[in-house]
Symmetry: C2
Subunit: 324 residues, 2 copies
């Protein structure tokens, strides 16, 4: 065990910004190693959309299912022990089946829609899920308003994120990305509170463009980061993303995808940066900066990997705090 | 085979007013014996409600599932070969489970909601279902606007119909019934067209108070019945309803439940009335009127029963038409 971690894990309050699958894995690690209630996860809702009249929050669901131990680790999305009765029948109607709605997953979409229809906020509904499944960390949607991420293709068409991501399988080349539906939107009060209370801010290994940037774009977020140590974990390893279009987005936008590119993307915010051991040779050429760079085994195949990376993140945060 | 039926079935166009289960059985019989496209079913939507954000039309679904051969004949509602994965998971959330949402049933609720969200009318959405499942009869929701039936209890509380019917299992005593949400609502254009085109109007063996009366209360319906032969089939047999609260509603409203009470309920509209053979002894005491009363085996346990009753209805209609 890393020595700084031993002490720091007893008191540190961490607020982590995250998207879906990759981010959720690190959140599981942090949830397991921090004191109960000391982790707040601020989760991207830029991917949220309405499907069959139901509000669907893909990133929130990935995070909640992962923290509840309900996630399907084989597919990397959705629920484990899932069945597909409803989707099979939906296909009989010739209805859209590009978004895979499992039966258990659907039960939560229905209950969320019911609670939203009653006037509850997405924050309240998410808290209800956490209560039902005994999640002790706080899971916070980044805001309660619709804040859609829009993707502009090289053909000039604007796409809703799920259209780009799931229906078109990320194939269109990206010309531009519009965050928060091109409007000014404030983070929820609880998000700002979680940022201000945190000893350490973590940018999870999620897509910088469409998972972390939407959160950072919310009014109040960058201000509340002032003076806080911020540690990011690179989602890019050896020029690729383990899951999702992050690397392709860098390339579409004319940037060579690499952990260095991720570091530069976040540079003005960062105090510490964790990248994969596989990228260590490249790191030797990085331009010097005030950021503490550290390599680690960042591929999380099981809970041990998640815990080890969480410990490395906390240790690096503790080092930064001690150096102040 | 009844002789009048032989000839009449070749040309008669029938428009039947119906609620859910009992009415749907007769519709199946009529669908099978009439020429393709010669049956229009006008179906009560007073029971429609929103559940988990989805528009649910219990009577329309019973009719559509029955005509598509998809109905669960054991339970008398919902889909055959049904599974319950979603409902099981919904219970884990402590969400309301009083309305049994089967997986296959739910697929249609989702697709209907999706199409309604796109701006389609309930009439158009229902036509889509009929097309997918090859139903040749026309199934028409009585109107496209919300037209809720409300139940006032003896305690003075007004209940939405599904609250009374499913959640409270029809236990509260009824003091009053308000149709169409106490507003003036017109029947859809296609409903009026179907009434005007019909050679014979049938009131299916459905609940007179909450299945047939809402349709009759719509603006335009009673006018379009003028001069048409109308035949009703009693849903009350030996003082009871085979399914649902029809008999209890008569009693709550101070009327002894009987096929005679049904006949009197519809009296001003009727030319012919079919009641069950079991009620034949009572019928001898009925006051004479211009209505042709006829007893028949009205309990429909299988398709043969449904076809036989449909033939009896058409024959009686043909007799009335010939007598003009």
């Amino acid at each position: 065990m890393i020595p700084e971690f031993m002490e720091a894990s007893k008191y540190l309050k961490v607020t982590a910004l995250a998207g879906g699958v990759g981010g959720a894995k690190l959140l599981v690690g942090l949830d397991k190693v921090l004191q109960p209630g000391h982790l707040s996860a601020v989760v991207n809702t830029g991917d949220d959309f309405s499907h069959f009249g139901l509000h669907i929050s893909p990133d929130l669901d990935s995070v909640c299912y992962a923290l509840a131990g309900l996630a399907d680790s084989v597919h990397g999305w959705g629920r484990k022990d899932e069945s597909w009765q409803v989707l099979e029948e939906i296909r009989r109607f010739g209805a859209p089946d590009w978004f895979a709605l499992g039966d258990r997953d659907l039960a939560w979409h229905l209950e969320r829609q019911r609670l939203l229809s009653e006037g509850k906020t997405l924050t309240e509904v998410t808290a209800h899920f956490c209560e039902v499944f005994g999640i002790q960390s706080r899971v916070l949607p980044m805001c309660d308003e619709p804040a859609p991420t829009l993707i502009k293709t090289k053909e000039g068409e604007w796409l809703a994120f799920q259209d780009y991501f799931v229906r078109l399988k990320c194939q269109p080349e990206i010309a531009d990305i519009a965050l928060l539906g091109n409007r000014e939107i404030a983070a929820s009060d609880l998000v700002i509170e979680a940022m201000l209370e945190a000893d350490l801010i973590v940018l999870a290994p999620s897509n910088p463009w469409v998972s972390i940037d939407p959160i950072l774009a919310l009014r109040g977020v960058r201000n509340s980061l002032q003076g806080k140590p911020v540690v990011a974990v690179s989602p890019i390893i050896q020029g690729s993303a383990l899951k999702g279009p992050a690397a392709k987005m860098f390339a579409d936008l004319g940037i060579h995808p690499s952990s260095e590119a991720v570091r530069q993307h976040y540079e003005e915010l960062l105090d510490g940066f964790i990248f994969d051991d596989l990228d260590l040779p490249d790191a030797e050429n990085w331009q010097s900066s005030a950021i503490i760079n550290q390599s680690f085994q960042t591929i999380m195949k099981n809970d041990e990997d998640k815990i080890a990376l969480a410990e490395a993140v906390i240790s690096l945060g503790a080092r930064i705090l001690q150096g102040r």
